[in-house]
């Protein structure tokens, strides 16, 4: 079905049945329903199947390197705070190669939406374990099954007091849409970890598996309570989905500009003032 945000003349490189299609549709619908102008919206991605998303949606894009979407997105947003900035990629990209940037971007709190396609496996490199692969998951490299403790992005983000921490399952589409909308409306860094199946390389964590092993956070979950959020983040049977935690604070751009936000492209230094400063030396 055609959508006004479809990019024309593209050759989509995803496998038939891939969970990425659902996320692409979700993103287009959320942007449209929130009336975010695509000409004021930029998707910054890394490398991997998920990171191909900005090639298929008609917003601005900066397709960067493996793991590097977050630092690019941070200063892009700071250069022009009126842009809507999205950093998007997969679990290997954002939690593996870009793990250090994930930690420090949460600490900086730029006003961006961080979308992570989490299928618990490496797709583009053909089926190795990802940081979120579960113990015992067998691959051509992890031949005895995964030994490493799975990376828990929710509890890591919470430990760093991220302002908006959410997880959704693309198989639960309407719930995912409600949460992603909230992420865009949140002022500050917002993490949305999206469970999605890899139909080729992950025969364990399938669409069906995600559907039967996740459940929406209860109505009485208090998303302003950090310790309750952390407790929920550590549950894994079943895995909770929804908004774990939300709390607004000063953003990276607030810290830099205060109340006078501007686009750096319009800034020129006062050379007379600079000359005066030089002459004090």
């Amino acid at each position: 079905m055609k959508h006004p945000l479809d990019r024309e003349n593209v050759d989509n490189a995803w496998c038939p049945g891939c969970g990425n299609f659902g996320i692409l549709k979700l993103l287009k619908e959320v942007l449209t329903e929130l009336a975010l102008n695509p000409k004021d919206t930029v998707i910054v991605s890394g490398i991997g199947q998920a990171s191909k998303t900005p090639y298929y949606i008609d917003t601005h894009m900066f397709s960067s390197l493996h793991g590097r979407a977050l630092p690019v997105a941070t200063t892009l947003k700071a250069s022009n705070p009126s842009l809507n900035v999205i950093a998007e990629g997969g679990d290997g990209d954002m939690y593996g190669e870009g793990g250090n940037h994930f930690i420090h971007t949460v600490r900086r709190n730029p006003n961006i939406v961080h979308i992570v396609h989490n299928n618990m496996v490496y797709g583009l490199t053909k089926g190795q374990a990802s940081p979120t692969s579960q113990r015992g998951f067998e691959t051509g490299v992890q031949v005895k099954g995964v030994h490493n403790e799975p990376f828990n992005p929710i509890s890591v983000a919470l430990a760093l007091k991220a302002g908006f921490v959410a997880r959704v399952n693309i198989g639960n589409y309407e719930h995912a849409k409600t949460v992603l909308k909230q992420a865009f409306l949140h002022k500050g860094y917002a993490l949305v970890d999206i469970f999605q199946p890899c139909v080729v390389f992950n025969k364990t964590n399938t669409r069906k598996w995600f559907n039967s092993n996740t459940h929406e956070l209860e109505n009485d979950h208090d998303s302003s309570n950090l310790s309750m959020a952390m407790q929920k983040a550590l549950e894994n049977d079943p895995i909770p989905i929804g908004i774990f935690y939300q709390s607004e604070r000063h953003t990276f751009e607030d810290y830099f500009y205060g109340d006078e936000k501007k686009a750096l492209i319009s800034v020129s230094h006062d050379l007379k003032k600079l000359q005066g400063l030089f002459e004090k030396y």
Binding site: Y55, F62, L264, I265, S268, K273, Q275, Y281
Partner: protein, 592 residues
């Protein structure tokens, strides 16, 4: 987004910016210079003494120059400051000195090879070494005096007073400098210490010290005392820099500190990144969003930026990298100097793409070429590396007034229309660059091979076209490259690049041989063949480089230039005027 105003909008049709005029190195006749070496542990306040004396001698009408040599530690060890005071501009350090002040017991053994029979040694009377030094030495009660005043660091002001007394300079001008160097709570004690030192000097008899020129000194109010890091900072601001993202690393941090200090008064985003990989990615995010961004680093950090260089190359995103070299490989010697990263700068990043490397050698060049780095990065949409080193970054020298309005401001940005394509093909290979939110078009930048829209592609024909497009940029860059600076006429070329400029200039002055002429490269990459024709035609070429292999010599060789002699060094020191004079003298005496 509406009504974004782009100041100084320019395009590629405009000719390259004229290189702002700055004073070239000069000297009239023979200089009268006093060279003072001060040694002491880190934490003793040796840098305060350096700044205090620099300011005071400048107020007295002298040219001053100072350079430090220090260990990679916060306290202790043995560091030195070399001060050169003269009636002529000074451009380089010397190895042997006229006067040596030891602030602690370890200092004299650390510097002994730099002392000659004529060197006057000043040390504390309690220094055990003083017992063995009979000739040309003065034992002074500086530590006792300082301790009586309450803090051993007052010894610095005591030494300053003593030196002013010995050199018969105006103590009132030193007082001004002392007062401005300390906060109110220690001003009085420092002034007293200064006076004690001054008074003590007047009691000393039969001191043999070369005299400082006392007459026809011109007030130096037109001059400013600056280190290389600050000059790079001012140049970057002239270049419109609005963002610096860096991971601290010696000896590059001076620029980060400078920009941070100035960010309270100017709109500059300063962010300390989690690593150098992020620092570079942030620079690209900045330029992509419309900022003029830079990062500062040294060799080890720049090694991590290699992937970012490649991304800047393929995505044609401008970037400015200030790379202050120190001796490698790996950790090497963090606080020492070397010119060993030229090859790294030229070859960093996988794949073929253009870049520009600029290696300034004086404060004037630091300022001008830092400005140019931003202009060139924007104009050609390539990464530009400013190649400095520890010596240039930390050395304090005098710079004449600079007219900041002479630096033409330009921004190569277009508003996009509906049909905008980021990588539009044209003859130049340089597509008009827009940024997100500026106009009706979509800006797509890509790390993949891509088509004109920025969509990734594996089409072999588009691949070839895009590779050629990026390669074409190089032709334009080469045709607009700045020439090396040639001083003098003769048939023996003394070739250098970057920070060795001053030492070569002074060595040539001392040798005073009409056969010698200096060829100084700031624009070190890519080289325009026409610019090196002079070396191809020349009889004898001697290169001077602060690295073990002669990295630039090999590049010139690749261009067909015959290099007859290489003077190389890799001991962590800069080149010293007097040592270079000897070494060069030994080579040229055999040349007919």
């Amino acid at each position: 987004m509406k009504n974004i105003n782009i100041p100084f909008q320019a395009n590629l049709k405009d000719p390259p910016v004229p290189l702002p005029k700055y004073k070239k190195q000069q000297s009239d006749g023979k200089a009268q210079t006093i060279d003072i070496l001060i040694g002491g542990a880190a934490g003793l306040g040796i840098n305060i003494l350096e700044n205090m004396l620099n300011k005071a001698f400048m107020l007295n009408g002298y040219f001053v120059y100072s350079t430090k040599e220090f260990m990679s530690r916060v306290r202790g060890g043995s560091n030195t400051v070399l001060l050169r005071i003269s009636d002529q501009p000074i451009y380089a350090p010397c190895w042997h000195v006229d006067l040596c002040v030891a602030l602690d017991y370890a200092a004299l053994s650390h510097v002994q090879e730099r002392l000659t029979q004529k060197t006057l040694i000043i040390a504390d009377e309690s220094d055990p070494v003083m017992k063995d030094i009979q000739k040309n030495s003065i034992a002074i009660p500086m530590l006792e005096t300082a301790k009586d005043l309450g803090d051993s660091r007052y010894a610095n002001s005591y030494v300053a007073g003593l030196l002013f007394g010995l050199l018969k300079a105006d103590i009132n001008l030193l007082r001004k400098s002392v007062v401005s160097s300390f906060s109110e709570d220690t001003q009085k004690e420092n002034e007293t210490a200064m006076h004690e030192g001054y008074t003590y000097s007047k009691k000393l008899k039969n001191i043999s010290l070369p005299a400082l020129l006392q007459t026809s000194l011109i007030p130096k109010s037109n001059f400013h005392l600056l280190d290389g890091s600050s000059a790079i900072g001012f140049g970057s601001l002239l270049g419109g820099c609005t963002m610096i993202t860096s991971y601290p690393m010696s000896p590059s941090t001076g620029v980060l500190n400078f920009m941070a200090s100035i960010s309270k008064e100017f709109t500059i985003l300063v962010e300390q990144s989690e690593d150098e990989i992020a620092a570079f990615a942030m620079v690209l995010g900045g330029w992509f969003g419309g900022a003029r961004a830079m990062t500062s680093t040294s060799g080890g950090g720049f090694a991590l930026m290699s992937e970012g260089m490649s991304l800047a190359g393929v995505s044609e995103t401008p970037a400015v990298i200030y790379l202050a070299q120190r001796p490698g490989p790996a950790t090497g010697m963090p606080t020492r100097t070397e010119q060993g990263d030229l090859n790294l700068a030229i070859h960093s990043g996988h794949g073929d793409f253009g870049r520009i490397i600029l290696a300034p050698g004086t404060l004037e060049e630091c300022l001008t070429y830092a400005y140019l780095a931003f202009e060139l990065a924007d104009r050609y949409q390539v990464p530009v590396i400013l190649l400095s080193d520890q010596y240039l970054a930390d050395t304090i020298n005098m710079i004449d007034n600079v007219d900041f309005t002479a630096y033409e401001q330009r921004r190569y940005i277009v508003k996009s229309d509906r049909n905008y394509k980021r990588y539009t093909l044209n003859k130049e290979g340089i597509s008009p660059r827009s940024v997100p939110g500026l106009g009706q078009g979509i800006v797509g930048s890509s790390s993949h091979e891509h088509d004109e829209r920025g969509q990734s592609t594996e089409d072999y024909k588009i691949r070839e076209i895009m590779v050629k497009k990026r390669d074409n940029k190089l032709k334009r860059i080469l045709s607009e490259a700045y020439k090396p600076e040639i001083q003098g006429k003769g048939n023996i070329a003394i070739i250098g690049w970057g920070s060795s400029k001053g030492a070569i200039f002074e060595a040539l002055k001392l040798l005073n041989d009409p056969r010698l002429f200096q060829v100084h490269f700031v624009w070190v990459h890519p080289l325009n063949p026409e610019h090196i024709e002079v070396l191809k035609q020349n009889e004898t070429n001697i290169i001077i480089e602060n690295n073990v292999s002669g990295q630039f010599a090999d590049i010139l060789k690749g261009h067909g230039v015959h290099i007859h002699y290489r003077i190389l060094q890799s001991n962590g020191f800069p080149f010293f005027t007097d040592l270079l004079e000897n070494e060069l003298g030994n080579i040229i005496k055999d040349i007919k």
